[in-house]
């Protein structure tokens, strides 16, 4: 052997960068393994000082870009035993309808490969009860409160917007025109550009609050819907809602859901969501909230790179109620590791 030592001494100070590189990049991002494991820390550590996590959704300022996805967060109180609600980028409640909505008959859930199929059917206590019983609790927290609404008619969307805008403590409205689990309205509004635009314009006409319109992926070209809604005055978009899906129970030879079809969410749909966000972010000027299968900070960062200004964690929070906190902490850690000062630098920073 020439020009080389035979048994090189190991230098323990020196990190093997090649071997360490991947592991290191993920160290703080909570991305190891499935990301669905975590321990409850009663006192939230405020890591990541010195990096800016604040993002703007039009006039709406979020302390950080991570929020829960509507319908997976109940009315916030359900998560209180597991995390400090004040740490979230926003609070987003289950869809509210004008009247109480009983929802679909059970069974409403089915697990699928890396996914969850649901047919809740917008079960909620209705606007009155929300204003009286849920809002006072939610007002106690500092993150902006986003109220998700759905109507059976365009007029109902308008009325919901008007009445919620009269209430105190609501920061923005999220307009659900994309729920696959209700027969009336719902997804129809979300698949026909003219209808989507009408709902948007009506809501805008009834509120001073920023209006976020939530889009369905169950369309031929989601950018057409996105532009229609932008033109109608939407301040931001959120996407994606669930994919239409179905499951069958071979034992009984019946649909697994009483409603027969349902909405698919969770990691399984992440590639579809990421693609939709990327395409829409390039097609519109208003900010986009990305969601669909986000489990770890790594997932969330990918959505930011694809062009999302903020992200939402849905199904993952049902499995690990602390997932959202881990995503926030992981984003901070990533920024620090990468020497970035501001999360906004990552938005749309995908290299093509």
């Amino acid at each position: 052997m020439e020009q080389a030592e035979k048994r090189p001494g190991v230098n323990p100070k020196e990190e093997d960068e090649k071997l360490g590189a991947r592991g290191k990049g993920l160290a703080g991002t909570g991305c190891a393994g499935s990301g669905l494991k975590s321990r409850f820390t009663p006192q939230e550590p405020e890591t990541g000082a010195g990096v800016n996590l604040e993002v703007q959704l039009g006039d709406l300022t979020l302390p950080n870009p991570v929020m829960p996805a509507s319908g997976t967060f109940g009315f916030g109180e359900e998560y209180a035993p597991f995390l400090d609600l004040n740490r979230l980028g926003a609070l987003v409640v289950k869809t509210i309808t004008l009247e109480p909505t009983p929802g679909n008959p059970p069974p409403r859930l089915m697990e699928t490969p890396s996914g969850l199929l649901n047919s809740i059917g917008l079960q909620n206590p209705g606007l009155e009860v929300f204003l009286r019983e849920k809002l006072p609790y939610l007002r106690r927290f500092t993150p902006p409160l986003i109220v998700n609404i759905a109507g059976r008619t365009v007029e109902e969307y308008g009325e919901l917007a008007a009445r919620l805008s009269a209430a105190e403590g609501i920061a923005a409205l999220e307009v659900n025109i994309s729920c696959p689990n209700v027969r009336e309205g719902g997804i129809v509004f979300g698949t026909v550009p003219e209808m989507a635009a009408r709902v948007t314009a009506t809501v805008k006409g009834q509120t001073h609050l920023p209006v976020i319109v939530k889009l369905t992926p169950n369309v031929t070209d989601i950018t057409v819907l996105a532009r229609a809604v932008e033109d109608a005055g939407a301040d931001a978009l959120s996407l994606i809602n669930t994919l239409q899906g179905m499951a069958i129970d071979l034992e009984t030879r019946r649909p697994a859901l009483a409603n027969i079809v349902g909405g698919l969410s969770g990691p399984a749909i992440k590639p579809v969501a990421l693609c939709a966000v990327w395409r829409v972010a390039r097609a519109v000027k208003i900010p986009v909230i990305g969601m669909g299968g986000i489990v770890t900070a790594r997932d969330a960062l990918e959505f930011l790179l694809a062009g999302a200004r903020a992200v939402a964690v849905g199904t993952a929070g049902l499995v690990n109620p602390r997932a959202i906190i881990e995503v926030i902490d992981g984003i901070k850690a990533y920024l620090q590791e990468q020497g970035l000062q501001d999360v906004n630098e990552l938005v749309g920073a995908l290299r093509i």
């Binding site: 409850f40 109940g74 859930l109 499995v319």
Partner: protein, 260 residues
């Protein structure tokens, strides 16, 4: 209600597909009540994705005991965990059985429904109740923990569909016979839904206050998703959906819409 990693103390197969799992989880064991459940991650990847709900079969000394059937991938994974390994747990979840003291109680278990009733029986005895425990299964091989049950100082009534042990017929029929001669202050049941429906009818007919523990597929287990509902009737007889995970799994038998 906590999220924690519980260490496996012991994992014992007590039947061809029935396991007992002892977990070290002092924070949960300290507050767990009969009828409550825990929600466990059963795998490492993203598939299977959801937690699995299992009743608290017993609790004490900082430990939880679970009694479960290996049914699919989740429970199969669980049965492979060795002492020392960690299981990701939410609990205690749900509303348990109403506890009373110094009364005469009937506990009616169908098959795996024995799981939560064991814990109830133990606490009920500690509270000075008399307990008649009715335990039914398809056949004698579906009966478990008989010795442990007897050690609780209860009266044990056995029924099997095929008569391979005890009374031949449904466990509810066995209970019905006892109802004629005995007074019960309260009755509790867990088992397949048709058995629970029969139980509820008998209890109503005998004017015995009765509670049942229901099962429904669950995602979160802590009330956030509205996925696990069952139909109930309110005081005016109107039907509505209630979460099984937070409104139950234990319900007043008279409030449940048995037709669905």
């Amino acid at each position: 209600m906590q999220k924690l990693e519980a260490e496996v103390v012991a994992s014992i197969r007590i039947g061809s597909d029935i396991c007992l799992l002892r977990l070290k989880a002092p924070a949960i064991a300290a507050t767990a009540r009969p009828g409550q459940f825990v929600h466990l991650r059963c795998g490492e990847g993203l598939d299977p994705l959801l937690r699995r709900p299992l009743s608290i079969h017993d609790s004490g000394d900082g430990e939880l005991t679970l009694f479960y059937q290996v049914k699919g991938r989740g429970t199969a994974w669980l049965s492979r965990q060795h002492p020392g390994s960690k299981v990701d747990l939410l609990g205690p979840l749900g509303r348990g059985f109403t506890l009373v003291s110094g009364r005469r109680l009937a506990l009616v278990a169908g098959g795996l429904g024995m799981a939560p009733l064991f814990f109830l029986a133990r606490q009920a005895r500690e509270l000075g109740n008399e307990v008649d425990f009715f335990y039914g299964a398809r056949n004698s091989r579906g009966l478990h923990r008989l010795e442990a049950l007897e050690d609780l100082g209860i009266r044990l009534f056995i029924a099997t569909d095929d008569g391979s042990a005890g009374f031949r017929g449904p466990v509810t029929a066995l209970w019905e016979k006892q109802l004629k001669d005995n007074h019960y202050d309260r009755a509790y049941a867990c088992g397949p839904r048709p058995a629970l429906a029969a139980f509820a009818r008998l209890a109503a007919a005998a004017a015995v206050p009765a509670e049942v523990s229901l099962e429904e597929r669950m995602a979160c287990g802590f009330g956030a998703c509205r996925g696990c509902v069952t139909a109930l009737r309110d005081s005016r007889g109107e039907k509505y959906y209630e979460n099984v995970c937070t409104g139950g799994p234990v319900f007043d038998a008279a409030a449940v819409c048995w037709e669905g």
